[in-house]
């Protein structure tokens, strides 16, 4: 009796076990079938998830456009230079803008003599003692305005090119080559503007060195501040530095691409100063 009871108790357990065994068999059959299929057809090709990376918008053209516009507005609306001189009659402060200087004349003769000396006994070698003539006040802003107009044009063309690149998707090599040509242009314009305006900065140094000759003209003391040229010097210096950085970046890119494959990771991070 006991053995029969035990058998009855064990029957459901056995059925469960059999079910499990059947499941196990099915699993094994499926696995073996899958493996056999794989051996016949080969492994299925894994679909690579395509990573879409947005092209970095090169803002240098836009930056140059802004710099050129700012410097143009400065030339037209900010007083070109400020003079504070002291004579026997008192101290005088004067502001001269570019529009006033276009007429080639200063209001006071004394200020005029600073750039075209009336003192014939002072020196036979030179008429100006600070390295500036009256024509410098008209010619230099004129040339700088022309250069700034060219800069605006080129900056605009470059920004349009970058916008077109977003749609047409040029190769990276062509972009870097055009970018390098553009940087060469930036450096050239920057140097020209810098050299045109550096004489205004130099005037301060010569004023200190040739103070005896300036005093002979009737000035007890003179203070000259050339607002626009100083700002233009700073802006052109910034342009020059940006140009050097861009040259470095372009050359780095060229060196990294020379005989090497670039990883996709380089395109992922974008910082303003890294890829201007």
């Amino acid at each position: 009796m006991n053995s029969e009871d035990e058998d009855k108790e064990k029957e459901p357990e056995k059925k469960e076990e059999e079910k499990k065994i059947h499941k196990f068999k099915d699993q094994i059959l499926d696995e073996s079938f899958r493996k056999a299929e794989l051996s016949k057809k080969g492994e299925p090709e894994k679909k690579e998830v395509k990573r879409t990376i947005k092209k970095p918008f090169i803002k240098i053209g836009f930056l140059i456009l802004i710099i050129a516009v700012i410097s143009l507005t400065l030339i037209y609306y900010v007083p070109f230079f400020y003079i504070n001189y002291e004579t026997d009659y008192g101290t005088i402060k004067e502001f001269y803008s570019y529009t006033e200087l276009k007429n080639n004349q200063f209001e006071s003769e004394l200020v005029n003599s600073l750039f075209e000396s009336n003192c014939y006994n002072c020196s036979d070698s030179s008429d100006s003692y600070i390295g500036l003539t009256i024509s410098d006040f008209t010619d230099t802003p004129k040339i700088t305005i022309y250069i700034l107009h060219i800069m605006i044009l080129v900056g605009f063309i470059f920004t349009i090119f970058i916008l077109v690149d977003r749609k047409k998707n040029f190769s990276e090599n062509t972009i870097t080559i055009i970018h390098s040509i553009f940087t060469a242009f930036i450096i050239l314009t920057g140097i020209v503007v810098l050299l045109m305006n550096i004489k205004f900065l130099d005037a301060g140094l010569l004023q200190q060195m040739n103070i005896q000759f300036i005093r002979a003209l009737g000035f007890n003391s003179v203070q000259l501040i050339f607002f626009v040229p100083y700002i233009l010097i700073i802006l052109s210096f910034i342009l020059f530095i940006i140009g050097i950085i861009l040259i470095r970046l372009n050359l780095n890119k060229a060196v990294s691409d020379y005989n090497f494959r670039r990883s996709n990771r380089d395109n992922l991070n974008y910082r303003f100063w890294r890829k201007i």
Binding site: K20, I187, K199, L206, A254
Partner: protein, 419 residues
């Protein structure tokens, strides 16, 4: 160009550009000369570049000309370096042509020559000043003039441009030499090959072109010459045989790959266990395949037939692999059933050992006897792991006791061995 040279050129271009621009700024910024005035004001009047240009003094005008030359030279240096920068970028990214390389070298060489001229003009400038009585160089501190700053910078520029040109020229000469040597080697190889081929061909031609008088000779002489031609042709035969063997090996490799794929699947399904029979069969197959490879001239079959046979083979392999996998898995289910039982009854689990005995071949009897002995040993003494305390202990099967007691925790269990 090498990578190192491209990197060096990157550094040097930036340096040359920076220094030349700095020098250009300094030319228009520095006071160059001081003229002693003795009229109303008795002092030295300092002149910068702009002042010198506007001056009416002939001596100063002569000096300005030198400075203007220097200024123009610096501008040319800047432009050439900018052009070389663009060329290097193009060279590195797009065109690695000889023309680009020549342009880079020539631009660097031009820069170097211009730097020499700049230094030369500066020396002339200082000499002309020293020859003049009323004019002297404007000084920062009495012995040290402002012009020296420019001179030092231009000398540095000269050194940098010189080193840059030297590096480029060295690299280009190395390249040229290597190209020449390569060309020579290739020519030599070509000549050797040509001579070998031409010698064999000429010999054959000589043998074929029998003079008319000799043709009249008896059949025996002709037979001899034909034998000679056969000999010469036999020289070429090993090469042809080699080619044929290589082709056969490649075909056999492809067949092997398909076979090995199916075999590898079976091996995976076996979980690392192999019977003696299977191993011996595999060995036999390998030996047969090796023999096949060693045969230099297997029978050639038409391609279409081969392709059909391949398809049949693959399908056969597939069916075989499937059937064997199913059979083996079904056979392997039994011990797993036992496992489930043991886990339910909470008894000590034992490592399952499958030992299948197959026919032992007479060739490897000595080795297989040794293996049998090893199998016996493993079957007698087993290493067991207690599921409760993870204690590993040995157990002798020969004693006949199926019940096992863990020496550490005292848990009871049973052992099941399939033979």
């Amino acid at each position: 160009m090498d990578d190192i040279i491209v990197k060096q050129s990157r550094k040097k271009i930036i340096l040359i550009l920076f220094l030349s621009i700095l020098c250009l700024i300094l030319i228009s910024f520095l006071p160059w000369i001081a003229v002693a005035e003795n009229d109303f004001v008795k002092d030295n009047l300092n002149f910068n570049y702009e002042m010198m240009k506007d001056s009416s003094n002939t001596q100063i005008i002569n000096l300005v000309r030198i400075l203007m030359n220097i200024n123009i030279l610096f501008w040319i240096i800047i432009i050439t370096t900018l052009i070389s920068f663009i060329i290097i970028v193009c060279y590195a990214l797009v065109k690695k042509s000889l023309f680009c390389r020549m342009l880079i070298i020539s631009s660097s060489f031009i820069n170097f020559i211009l730097c020499i001229f700049i230094v030369y003009y500066q020396i002339i400038f200082s000499r002309t000043i020293s020859n003049l009585d009323s004019i002297s160089g404007s000084m920062i501190y009495p012995p040290f003039a402002y012009a020296y700053i420019q001179f030092i910078l231009s000398v540095i520029l000269l050194l940098i441009s010189g080193s840059y040109t030297l590096v480029l020229i060295k690299d280009s000469t190395k390249r040229l030499k290597s190209v020449r040597t390569r060309k020579k080697e290739i020519r030599k190889k070509m000549d050797i090959e040509d001579t070998e081929v031409s010698s064999i061909e000429s010999e054959i031609e000589k043998s074929i072109r029998i003079p008319d008088k000799e043709r009249v000779l008896t059949n025996s002489s002709r037979e001899e010459k034909l034998a000679e031609i056969d000999k010469l042709l036999s020289k070429k035969e090993p090469e042809i045989e080699k080619q044929k063997v290589e082709e056969n090996i490649s075909e056999q490799k492809l067949d092997k790959q398909s076979q090995t794929e199916s075999i590898s699947d079976e091996e995976i399904k076996d979980d690392g266990y192999k019977t003696w029979g299977e191993v011996s069969k595999e060995n036999k197959q390998d030996t047969k395949e090796d023999k096949k490879i060693k045969q230099p001239f297997p029978e050639k079959k038409p391609k279409k037939q081969q392709e059909e046979s391949d398809e049949i083979r693959i399908s056969d392999h597939f069916e075989k692999a499937l059937s064997t996998a199913i059979e083996k898995r079904q056979s392997g289910i039994k011990p797993k059933e036992n496992k489930i039982k043991i886990s339910k009854e909470k008894k000590i689990e034992t490592p399952q050992i499958e030992i299948k005995k197959d026919i032992i071949e007479p060739d490897d009897q000595a080795e297989k006897d040794k293996d049998e002995e090893k199998e016996d040993k493993t079957s007698k003494i087993l290493k067991l792991k207690c599921p409760e305390c993870d204690h590993i202990f040995t157990f002798d099967v020969e004693k006949g006791n199926k019940k096992i007691i863990c020496p550490k925790c005292g848990r009871e269990g049973e052992i099941e061995i399939e033979i």
